[in-house]
Assembly symmetry: C2
Homo-oligomer: 175 residues x 2
């Protein structure tokens, strides 16, 4: 499939053997050379199945959004990062994040999601590290996001500071 | 000049006669039909003289940034809004703002500046109204910004809410 061809060209596999957090040997016998082992792969490919992405967002309870708009948002994001569980020749979308940017100074990260089955295993952190690495490689110096209250501490551990020097994140609502 | 030609096609003049805030008759005799009257014009034209923009940013004390990067940021912003004082056939850049966006859901406003000579006259508010009108016309529902402490109240009067529902603006710094 065209998807796989282009996808692998812009994807990175992490931790193909050593890092326990990113490997799952529970399904395979380590002594068996035919054992199927899972790996976690990151990609910046934009050609994501929108229904698969919607399913992922459903799983964390997000409100549904028109796929037409999601498609447009992906097209016009500066960075689109996805995280996949790969088992044999099957892959499953288990994480997603994207960023808008002026391609020069600022980037803002949106829509960070990790499937509940894969949370609390360090994968959210791995996804964010991947995003930050990609943004830094583009010389973006100011990386920002708007964090829901329950994930503020998570982002803090990643090096994000809330309200630095009193700078306030603000949202506009029509008066 | 090409600039003027393209510029007027995408610009909007506000308050050509009635609104005091946007007209300055002090230089002209109202009884004299040759009187020169100032008007304030808004534009979304991107072809802005980078040196003129730098001068405007200098006037408010911002740190200088490489013009190469400023150019790139303007090119990749979703919206570039400028405010001009027009007197006869002369124009002067007196305000600027831009926004990054995914063209679908979110926009983030950056680099809002009004020349000190033109502050406290409602022009910052007029510029922001222009920006918000443009973003709304593109069906962007979530308009955000990061406000320095001394302008939080200004943005509050425009309908911006800090930390709505506990959502925190966060900035990343490498650990």
């Amino acid at each position: 499939m065209g998807f796989w061809k282009t996808w692998f060209s812009s994807s990175e596999s992490v931790a193909t053997n050593k890092t326990t957090a990113f490997e799952d040997h529970t399904r395979g016998d380590k002594g068996n050379s035919n054992a199927v082992s899972d790996s976690i792969v990151f990609s910046t490919e934009r050609d994501i199945d929108l229904y698969e992405l919607e399913e992922l967002c459903d799983a964390v309870g997000w409100s549904r959004r028109p796929l037409r708009k999601v498609k447009k948002a992906i097209e016009h994001s500066f960075l689109v990062a996805s995280m996949w569980q790969v088992r044999g020749n099957k892959r499953r979308l288990i994480g997603f994040a994207r960023a808008t940017s002026d391609h020069a100074f600022n980037a803002t990260i949106w829509d960070v999601v990790v499937h509940p089955d894969f949370q609390s295993q360090g994968l959210g952190k791995a996804l964010m590290k991947y995003v930050l690495k990609k943004l830094r490689s583009e010389e973006i110096s100011n990386v920002t996001l708007f964090a829901d209250p329950h994930v503020v501490d998570f982002y803090r551990t990643m090096g994000f500071i809330p309200d630095p020097e009193g700078i306030k994140g603000m949202f506009w609502y029509p008066q």
